[in-house]
């Protein structure tokens, strides 16, 4: 009986770690796609910091499940692998990640952008105009198809 308890404990820890294979979205925004193809249907918009449960890997693509339980694909360049968060049950650091602290340390961040906004030599209003010029996925699909591109 005690041996079975040990075995169950081992299996439970293993399951916890495997189930904790979580990917975090590292880009500002991306899409959960129906197929491992940028031109496939968009199932859901996902934002930076969203956590996705990894189901399987297919080449450069990950099949994942989002917080709503929707399954779909994200490209590997949009996510970063994160360890299971054991902060609730294990001692360890909390708060800002190493990456966030390093970012703050170097000053290449939103805070310093705000400080130089309005300074001579920077036209951020024009940058915002550029960032607003986006194309819809459906328009891109049509453009590629009509132009006999791939």
């Amino acid at each position: 009986m005690k041996n079975n308890v040990c075995l169950l404990g081992f299996l439970a820890v293993t399951a916890l770690l495997l189930a904790g294979k979580v990917l975090t979205v590292k880009v500002l925004r991306t899409q959960l796609l129906a197929k491992p193809d940028f031109l496939s249907n968009n199932l859901a918009a996902i934002q930076k910091g969203a956590r996705l449960e990894l189901i399987e890997t297919q080449g450069n693509w990950f099949l994942v499940k989002n917080a709503n339980g929707s399954k779909g694909y994200v490209h590997q360049s949009a996510v970063t692998e994160s360890k299971v968060n054991l902060s609730g049950i294990m001692p360890g650091k909390k708060g800002a990640s190493d990456e966030e602290l390093a970012l703050a340390a170097k000053g290449f961040n939103e805070g310093n952008e705000k400080k130089i906004r309005g300074s001579k030599g920077y036209n951020f209003a024009a940058v915002e105009w550029v960032m607003d010029q986006d194309v819809a996925n459906a328009a891109l699909v049509e453009f590629i198809r009509d132009g006999k591109l791939q």
Binding site: F38, K83, K106, G107, E113, N123, Q150
Partner: protein
Amino acid sequence: MKKLTQQSCEVPCKGGIRALNSKFKICSKDLPNFRICYKALMLLLCLCQLLAAWKLPSLSKLSKAKKGVEMVAGATHKISEEEEYYIGRAVAANILSQYPLWKNKALCHYLNLIGKALVLKSERPEIFGGYHFALLDSAEANALSAPGGIIFLSRGIVEMAENEDELAAILAHEIQHIVSKDPLQAIKSQRMKSLGTFAAGEALGSSSEVLNIFKDSVLDITGTLLQKGYSRGQEKDADLGALDLLVAAGYNQDALLAMLEKCQKIEKKKAKAFSAHPSAAKRIDYVSDALGKASGKDMSVRFARFKKSVSR
């Protein structure tokens, strides 16, 4: 571990554990020792798993300040995609303070469609803020890529292009610079080193020195993009990478050669076309050597939409 026997025990093994091979059974007299070993093994495996996931933070004796210094020192070697994005925005803002933006929405939309069709085939299809393509209202024939994916084409170079594939060739070259993070290489190493020498408390705060390094880094990159230029090696890699990208997206590679030949003609007139690049003649040589077969696909739709978008 006590011995395992291949022979059946005379006394039935109550509570005995079946081994992987069903022929192996454990004699009851060995069970107490075996159970102890088994429990110890399971406990050890559980501990190993937890420690591996936990990355041993509690074992570190580093103080927070010391850790901060280490992170900053480490940061001198690597710039994250988020940092690349913010420095890229500042570089773009600096360029746009020197060259007016050409707010031609229809043409900008067309440029973004071509650019994004190429990006999907690149090695960095998803970057922090996504790729953005825009036009500068300048007669100079030039193309620039700010870190983080903001790419500018001047009115002069758009007017040089005679079809969509040629516009794609210019964009593919600039996308390759982003893929290789070439703009970031322009930041003088001394700036990154000086960041690493700050005390943790100062660096983690909002020091004016850090802000100055941010501004100086922007000027390093803008200076390279507008005047100094990339190294010949970087340009060659971008050209050869562009050829692969064009083919992958379904465009004709010949378009890059055609654009370079146009640049060569302008160079002879001592114009500023691609002044930041190696000579067009040298680029034509290695691009010609690397050219593959023309795609042979029907380009009529691409010709028509180019004509519609790029009105002359």
